[in-house]
Symmetry: C2
Subunit: 126 residues, 2 copies
């Protein structure tokens, strides 16, 4: 049996979030196979986008996240999660700051295929 060397240190989400300097700048904290766990602080409005190739999971740690869809919206509070199905257009919104985790395959951009100035740097770790 392979016993790879790896750190025996837990990942504290609040501590990591506290070290992310800017809003909307996602930071990777862990990987599971080809998936990444990313932390991000957001406030205000984002752009409409979708991820044609993958579902996207959100877990809210602090604050209240609203995700708008073309046919409605969902409110996600602390200790709640939601999975946006692939190909579904959505727009995150936070009236006040939200701290959350996003889980999705490595390489997925925050703006999907839309590009533009709101596209965050990808694959940055904290």
């Amino acid at each position: 049996m392979t016993q790879r060397n790896f750190s025996h240190t837990p990942i504290n989400l609040a501590e990591k979030l506290g070290r992310i300097p800017d809003l909307w700048q996602q930071r990777v904290v862990a990987e599971m196979n080809d998936y990444q766990f990313k932390l991000v602080r957001i406030e205000g409005d984002f752009i409409w986008h979708d991820h044609p190739e993958t579902d996207e999971a959100f877990i809210v740690i602090e604050g209240h996240l609203r995700i708008d869809f073309r046919d409605g919206s969902v409110e996600i509070g602390p200790g709640e999660m939601f999975v946006v199905p692939k190909g579904v257009q959505h727009k995150p919104f936070a009236e006040e700051e939200v701290k959350m985790m996003v889980i999705e395959p490595r390489g997925v951009l925050n703006t999907g295929n839309e590009g533009g100035e709101r596209t965050a740097q990808n694959d940055l770790w904290i």
Copy 2:
């Protein structure tokens, strides 16, 4: 663009955990592609096992989880997470009840390839 019908209801982790009747019985609350988000309440000792085909992510919601490895251990508290690499033998332990989320591909058993009486029913939703 496909806009599948899906529920616009957030998943409240504490509420779901409160409805799991028995310790060690994992319940699926969401899927992301071919991965599942499972909630479980544990207390006491588990068996040594590994998952030869996949990493396994743990997010602790309440309590303190210890995962023993052949060469050490990690303590994971509320709001902390940890990813056990594939093929690494591990044994979860909770001195007092731990409520946690496990994220891994659909079909992975809690006992890996070990089998036996501690193997929980798989793919049960709550």
